[in-house]
């Protein structure tokens, strides 16, 4: 059932950011300071890294079809999972939603013409490219075999692979992340349109504000840590190598001080996407707006206090382990606040199953599984059994792929009409969402069982009794790949042949839907003034919803 009004036959606006000319063709893109064009540059770049990471993942799954390993040597297998992790985490997941949707949408959502520092925004993309170039150089000149975690002294002493260029690339890329975060924070503080108070901000903006805090406070730590590992490797300075007076556990403390919060850099923006999609397709103000906004900040803050749960079996002190275990349980509370509020929003909502909604509901289900299994891992006793097994692999893929990538693809479907001005085939995209959900679960759920049964991660071989579950996982990966290729195909198709969407096809309540699709370079013809509460369908006759489709629940600030 759908209560989304049919889209009338419309024309694209004469002038928009895609056909605006500032000099000739490619130059107008490479020198642009328009946040929307920079977002599209990022979209293209992160897609390249997603493909690279995806191909490497495919090779891993094919290799694991047989107990002895079907495809590559053990050394190459080490490189496959390392490069998969580096490409996906540092160059796809971390920049994906913030750099693509955050860049495109934050100024539109708050009624601004651009981000606060447009040139720095373009600079951050170039920094990303330079960092990515170093990492691709590392991949193509022998590859990396340290694991994406670069644990010392393996990375700083023993590894014979191309660690140095990769470490330099990730160090450089960190600046891109920091500059993006800085830009978002300053923009949200200083460039909100008249009437756009803090508690009228879309929850997507709140999520990006929290993400930006993590980016700014955490990224310098991992950048310096990897630089220290690089210095130890190149100049034999003793930071982490016990033989030189260093401490390998210190590397893990510093690395995870960033890299655990980095999970929240990936998942918080996806939560922001879901917080926009759910009320739109439930036609209902979001339940507990202030709590969802506050929980984003709480996740960012508490997320910084849990890092050493990655180190329970490394020899850290029992007292520290107890503290970090407790703090890790604590971070589940704001995450649960979000899930309960999304489901409460659905209650008695006027739900339509448009494609973004199918992705958002998929996100909630997968995130709940990923989040709850995180509590298993935060439990000190249980973690000793399942540490470094496929249980951990399944858990973080449920968060990062089931959560963050599902949110990313859902966001792509939600804002694609705004980005391109065109709609995509509805039934096909609903089918793709289901394929993605099924493929994902078939890939990763068997890995929970494998891990619980004791199959260690990062091994190129396994006992024959684990083969059935591994074959299931590889079969699921094939379906999952289809779930990604389908949207790529029809979204590209729709850019030329899709039906013209109009300004607000869903319709949704945010400010970004009150301008043309695609928007002008300056975003709005006139600076908008916000007089309505967030996610308010009741007092918005301009949305064109039938009275029966508008439930009576009051919006935040309207009750």
């Amino acid at each position: 059932m759908s209560n989304t009004p049919p889209t009338p036959d419309l024309e694209l606006p004469d002038e928009h950011y895609l056909n605006a000319t500032y000099g000739s063709g490619i130059r107008s893109w490479l020198l642009t300071t328009d946040h929307k064009r920079i977002a599209l540059l990022y979209l293209a770049s992160v897609t390249v890294f997603f493909f690279i990471g995806g191909v490497l993942a495919t090779m891993i799954r094919i290799h694991l079809l047989t107990p002895g390993g079907a495809l590559v040597t053990p050394e190459t297998y080490n490189k496959l999972f390392t490069m998969h992790g580096v490409a996906m985490i540092f160059f796809f997941l971390i920049p994906s939603i913030p750099a693509v949707f955050g860049n495109f949408l934050i100024p539109l959502m708050i009624g601004a013409k651009d981000l606060a520092f447009p040139k720095i925004n373009l600079l951050s993309w170039y920094i990303y490219l330079i960092g990515g170039g170093f990492v691709l150089y590392s991949f193509s000149t022998g590859g990396l075999d340290t694991g994406w975690t670069f644990y010392t002294p393996l990375s700083s002493v023993y590894s014979n692979s191309a660690v140095t260029p990769a470490v330099i690339g990730i160090f450089i890329n960190g600046f891109s992340s920091i500059l993006t975060g800085l830009n978002f924070i300053v923009t949200i503080h200083t460039m909100r349109a008249p009437g756009m108070t803090w508690f009228r901000l879309p929850l997507f903006a709140w999520a990006h504000y929290a993400t930006s805090l993590v980016m700014i406070l955490g990224t310098p730590v991992v950048a310096i840590t990897l630089l220290l590992a690089g210095l130890e490797r190149m100049f034999h300075l003793g930071f982490f190598n016990p033989a030189l007076g260093g401490d390998p556990i210190l590397f893990q403390h510093l690395f995870w001080f960033y890299s655990h919060p980095a999970v929240y850099i990936m998942i918080l923006p996806a939560m922001g996407v879901v917080s926009e999609i759910i009320p739109t397709f439930a036609r209902k103000p979001i339940f507990g707006y202030a709590f969802i906004a506050g929980s984003s900040i709480a996740i960012a803050v508490i997320g910084f206090l849990v890092w050493a749960h990655h180190m329970f079996v490394t020899g850290e002190s029992t007292y520290a382990a107890l503290t970090f275990s407790f703090l890790s349980y604590l971070v589940a509370i704001p995450s649960a606040v979000k899930v309960f509020n999304w489901t409460s929003t659905l209650y008695k909502g006027s739900i339509s199953w448009d494609p973004p909604m199918v992705y958002a509901l998929g996100f909630i289900g997968l995130f709940v599984i990923g989040g709850l299994t995180g509590l298993f891992l935060a439990c000190l006793g249980l973690d000793i059994h399942i540490h470094d097994t496929y249980f951990v692999v399944a858990h973080f893929h449920y968060i990062m792929v089931g959560g963050a990538v599902m949110g990313y693809v859902g966001g792509l479907h939600f804002w694609w009409p705004k980005i391109t001005g065109r709609l995509y085939p509805k039934s096909l995209s609903q089918f793709a969402a289901i394929i993605l959900f099924v493929g994902f679960n078939l890939t990763f759920f068997p890995q929970f069982i494998l891990g619980y049964l004791g199959m260690p991660r990062r091994y190129h071989t396994y006992p024959p009794e684990f083969q059935v579950l591994n074959v299931l996982s590889t079969a699921g990966a094939s379906i999952l790949a289809l779930g990604y290729l389908l949207p790529m195909s029809y979204l590209i198709w729709s850019m030329r042949y899709g039906k013209v969407a109009g300004p607000n096809p869903w319709p949704a309540t945010g400010l970004e839907w009150k301008t043309d699709s695609p928007p002008l370079t300056e975003n709005f013809h006139v600076t908008p003034e916000v007089t309505w509460e967030p996610y308010d369908f009741q007092n918005r006759p301009d949305l064109g919803l039938a009275a029966s489709a508008r439930p009576l629940a009051p919006a935040h600030g309207d009750d």
Binding site: L254, F304, E316, S317, T323
Partner: protein
């Protein structure tokens, strides 16, 4: 927003203080204060960093919100150091490990 103008005299005094701090650090490096060696070295470094942030980076003359951001960042650093050191301080120290054989690669 108008920029605060700092007189050259202030810059000269701060620069001289930093040079003095550097001299002190070098002198302290050649003395043996036993368990206080690291405390003294880091103490001097912290004072020098504070002077740079306050005067050379104009934090002293910045709006309250900027100062709040700086204080929060230092607090964040303190969290990282405190929780990491809490691990070190509560570990059993009677474990001895043989140093591994080392092969260097660049």
């Amino acid at each position: 927003m108008s920029e605060h103008i700092v007189s050259p005299k202030v810059y000269i005094v701060i620069f001289a203080s930093l040079m003095l701090g550097t001299g002190l650090t070098v002198w302290a490096a050649f003395q043996n204060f036993h368990q206080y060696n690291i405390v003294i070295a880091l103490g001097i470094a912290t004072i020098k960093a504070t002077l740079v942030v306050l005067y050379f980076m104009h934090a002293r003359y910045s709006p309250g919100r900027t100062q709040l951001v700086i204080v929060c960042s230092v607090f964040w650093l303190a969290i990282m150091l405190a929780l990491t050191l809490a691990d070190y301080d509560t570990r059993p120290h009677d474990i001895t490990l043989a140093a591994p054989q080392v092969f260097y690669c660049v």
